[in-house]
């Protein structure tokens, strides 16, 4: 019974998100099946914990049954809508049929490697109890209490807890982190009927698989051929640090990375294709970011420059500069009005940290966190300069958003006290996980443009 309920706990979010996206996404969309189920899984995994949150807000005891019932009703509603629609015959994908034998072999080889990897990671998740540091410092702490009390008991900082003599409150290192990840673990444990540190981490495996499916399908929609889409999906899912965050699940970074990547992909494909459902995906994943981790607010906010550049290209630079100046003026005014509130913020800044810089360089270029991605990105960026301007303009939205995020990342680790997290490798790798999938998507788009156009020396014909 426990196994059935655990499987149900995983299946319900996937079905919920997948079926509602099936309602939303037109039937003739390229790579529709992986698109709806993978994006649906990501959305469902973030949505179901919100049901638990709502249940608690209504003063009800946390349980598996009520959110499962709500999910089932929503799933049935979506199913009814889908059944009422005229069925469309399952079209074979012409691009898949056009693949050469070598391409098919490569596609299958990489797919098998990915399946093997997911099986290995799944086994590891299934076997291990909770292991990583932060998981037991501020993520699973809340999950454990909320599961035991069947209620979202408040967590406060150490001092507030002492002042309240611990009456009705608990404390951990980061009491203000969003509740989604702990509630996801509560959800799994409610299904298991006991506190189970292995089963509660299975959503991390689903998240990785969903990230892969979403990445592949959005690349296909962006016009990338199946083989190259699979190659880049393989690149993404094989990166060791991302794999580690599944095998040793318990952190939010993988979910943040997946949601940020999904938002960026939707942004790019909405700007390029103008499909309304991509806009909905963009909004939904930006909201997911906010509900996952504090950094999510920043990544969601930094989607805005990309949107401005992509949607209002005329005078976009002037507009961005205007926003920047307004922010600076706002800070100056704020400093005059309430200097004491800004003081702790300003204290975080430091001169350029060379140790932080060396930490970033080592983490990215020397260590095996990302395999060869750190070398691929600059190579592709340099080669993309050979592409015609008209082609490059296609990527300005996603590139601007990523440029802003990478800028914020570098600023954090080079010019603030958080450079320590780069110098001793405690923070830089984890934050990179949040950006790497999005960067890989841009890299895949540019690589596709380079390979399709054979940018230099001329349009080649390969070996004679």
């Amino acid at each position: 019974m426990e196994s059935v309920l655990v499987l149900l706990a995983l299946a319900l979010p996937i079905a919920l998100g997948g079926l509602w996206l099936s309602v939303l996404v037109p039937a003739d969309t390229l790579a529709r099946t992986p698109l709806i189920w993978s994006h649906g899984a990501l959305l469902g995994l973030v949505l179901v914990p919100q049901f638990l949150w709502l249940q608690n807000a209504l003063g009800l005891t946390l349980s598996f049954a009520l959110p499962a019932l709500v999910s089932t009703i929503l799933i049935l509603t979506a199913s009814v809508i889908l059944l009422r629609r005229t069925p469309i015959s399952n079209r074979t994908q012409p691009a898949l049929r056009k693949m050469t034998a070598a391409q098919k072999w490569l596609f299958m080889l990489l797919l098998i490697l990915l399946i093997v990897r997911l099986a290995l990671l799944g086994t590891e998740v299934f076997l291990r109890p909770l292991f990583p540091w932060d998981a037991t410092m501020h993520w699973a702490t809340k999950a454990k209490i909320w599961f035991e009390y069947r209620s979202i008991v408040p967590f406060t900082d150490n001092l507030s807890w002492l002042q309240a003599f611990g009456e009705g409150v608990f404390t951990d290192r980061h009491p203000n982190y969003p509740s989604t990840i702990p509630l996801l673990q509560v959800w799994m444990n409610l299904a298991a009927g006991e506190w189970n540190e292995s089963l509660m981490n299975l959503p991390w495996l689903v998240c990785l698989a969903a990230l892969g499916g979403a990445f592949y399908s959005q690349l296909r929609i962006a016009g990338v051929e199946p083989t190259l889409s699979m190659v880049f999906t393989y690149f993404l899912l094989s990166m060791p640090l991302i794999n580690t965050h599944v095998a040793l699940a318990g952190y939010a970074d993988l979910f943040v990375g997946a949601a940020y990547c999904a938002a960026l992909m939707a942004l790019h494909n909405w700007v390029s294709g103008k499909q309304a459902w991509q806009r909905v995906l963009l909004i939904l994943f930006a909201l997911c970011l906010i509900r996952l981790k504090i950094e999510g607010y920043l990544w969601a906010l930094l989607l805005a420059p990309g949107l401005i550049v992509a949607l209002a290209p005329k005078h976009a630079v002037i507009r961005l500069a205007g926003i920047g100046i307004l922010c600076v003026i706002g800070l100056v005014v704020f400093r005059q009005v309430a200097p004491e509130s800004l003081h702790p913020f300003l204290q975080q800044f430091t001169p350029l940290s060379m140790k932080g810089l060396m930490g970033i360089i080592k983490s990215v270029f020397l260590h095996a966190n990302w395999h060869l991605f750190a070398y691929l990105l600059p190579m592709v960026a340099a080669l993309s300069l050979l592409l015609p301007l008209s082609v490059l303009k296609t990527y300005r939205g996603i590139a601007t958003a990523l440029f802003a995020s990478v800028g914020a990342f570098l600023f954090l680790f080079l010019f603030t006290v958080f450079s320590l997290g780069s110098a001793n490798f405690t923070g830089v790798g984890r934050l990179s996980i949040q950006l790497a999938p999005g960067l890989m998507f841009l890299c895949a788009l540019l690589s596709n443009a380079i390979l399709v156009r054979q940018v230099w020396p001329a349009k080649g014909t390969g070996h004679r």
Binding site: Y149, A368, G460
Partner: protein, 373 residues
């Protein structure tokens, strides 16, 4: 790519060849009756193979005597075991000037065939008198040491040491959530720069082939792309191999256990069991328990295991809250190492505070639980 590989080997031999004192030819130092010292309940050396029985606590000590060798003449150590117990840990130390120096735990598992570049060991210089390898396992067991030997520099062994590094495996470490170096503690090279060199040399080789073909082969981006993919696959197969061995290790440790048993068998098993003993002495379900320790990790983990009791642990000092925040009935768990002093009759205090009156509820070698009066 084959040309690139050949060029990589040439680069390794030309620029990364280990130095030697110049006294050649040198012979390898192998296990013989003269070079071997063994401490174990029972052992025998037959045809260069050492059959060994580990003692009551699963310990055996094997020493390879190397009197008077110049460390830089022997850049490679080979260690190979047959039928090692799965939890076997090998600790290596050097003897220099009559003293044992520089202990290393050889992370790599299983220790069936390990080639180590000795220059990566701290202290591998000057004259080495002996290398001692301490083999420990939880249970008494028997194994065969098929080889412990030191070797002079050679291109083949350089390659074997690199391959041994790439094929090595060590169980998860906490730091791996933050970074994955890809290299063992005593590896000669980080794998990524090594593979990047291979990739760049392959690009050069392809460029040369295109130029020398005088138009018979035209440049295509597909070829560099395939070289890149192949190099990625090389790195990934190394990673997948480690992942596979990790899964086997986890299976051995956790398969078939209940959630509670997994915690009691996991990396924090001792702490988990200790906290379980502590919790058995706390009757109030909503008791406040302050964890006092100077070990950040143990303190954080202890607080986590104490939940759903109302646990308090602070990352920063002081280890105990100010007196104004304490009240009768609160529990204080002093976890070694700690600056807090606990007395079974008087109570508990930090060096800079007064004594908080408390009764000792539970005491063990590593922790003391007190209840404030």
């Amino acid at each position: 790519m084959l040309l690139g590989l050949a060029m990589l080997l040439a680069v390794l031999m030309l620029f990364f060849h280990p130095p030697s004192s110049g006294e050649s030819p040198l012979q390898a130092i192998n296990m013989t009756e003269e070079t071997l010292e063994v401490v174990a309940p029972s052992w025998q050396l037959i045809d260069g193979r050492l059959d060994l029985e580990l003692a009551g606590f699963g310990v055996g000590v094997v020493t390879l005597l190397t009197p008077g060798i110049d460390a830089q003449d022997y850049p490679y150590l080979h260690l190979s075991l047959e039928h090692p117990p799965p939890d076997l840990v090998a600790t290596m130390s050097l003897r220099k000037g009559g003293k044992t120096v520089h202990q290393y735990i050889l992370e790599d598992q299983p220790l069936t065939d390990l080639w180590i570049a000795t220059r990566e060991f701290k202290g591998w210089d000057g004259s080495i008198e002996a290398i001692t390898i301490i083999l420990t396992s939880k249970e008494p067991s028997a194994l065969t040491v098929t080889d412990i030997s030191l070797h002079p520099a050679s291109a083949t062994l350089q390659l074997r040491a690199i391959l041994s590094d790439l094929g090595s495996f060590a169980p998860w470490k906490r730091a791996q959530m933050n970074t994955h170096t890809g290299a063992a503690k005593v590896a000669s090279f980080y794998p990524v720069p090594l593979v990047v060199t291979l990739m760049l040399l392959s690009f050069v080789a392809y460029g040369v082939v295109v130029i020398l073909s005088r138009g018979r082969i035209t440049f295509s981006w597909t070829v560099p792309a395939m070289i890149f993919l192949a190099c990625w696959l090389v790195l990934d197969l190394v990673w997948q191999n480690r992942l596979l061995r990790q899964v086997a290790h986890s299976h051995l440790t956790f398969a078939g256990l209940s959630p509670e048993e997994k915690l009691a068998a996991g990396p924090d098993a001792k702490l988990y069991r200790s906290i379980a003993a502590v919790k058995a002495h706390i009757n109030e379900p909503d008791a406040r328990v302050m964890v006092a320790t100077s070990d950040l990790y143990a303190g954080m983990r202890a607080a986590y295991f104490l939940y759903p009791l109302n646990a308090y642990w602070r990352l920063e000092r002081p280890e105990l809250p100010d007196a104004q925040y304490l009240r009768k009935g609160d529990y204080i768990l002093v976890l070694s190492p700690s600056r807090a002093y606990a007395h079974k009759d008087k109570g508990v205090r930090l060096p800079e505070t007064r004594m908080y009156p408390a009764e000792m509820v539970y005491s063990s070698l590593t922790m003391r639980l007190l209840r404030l009066k």
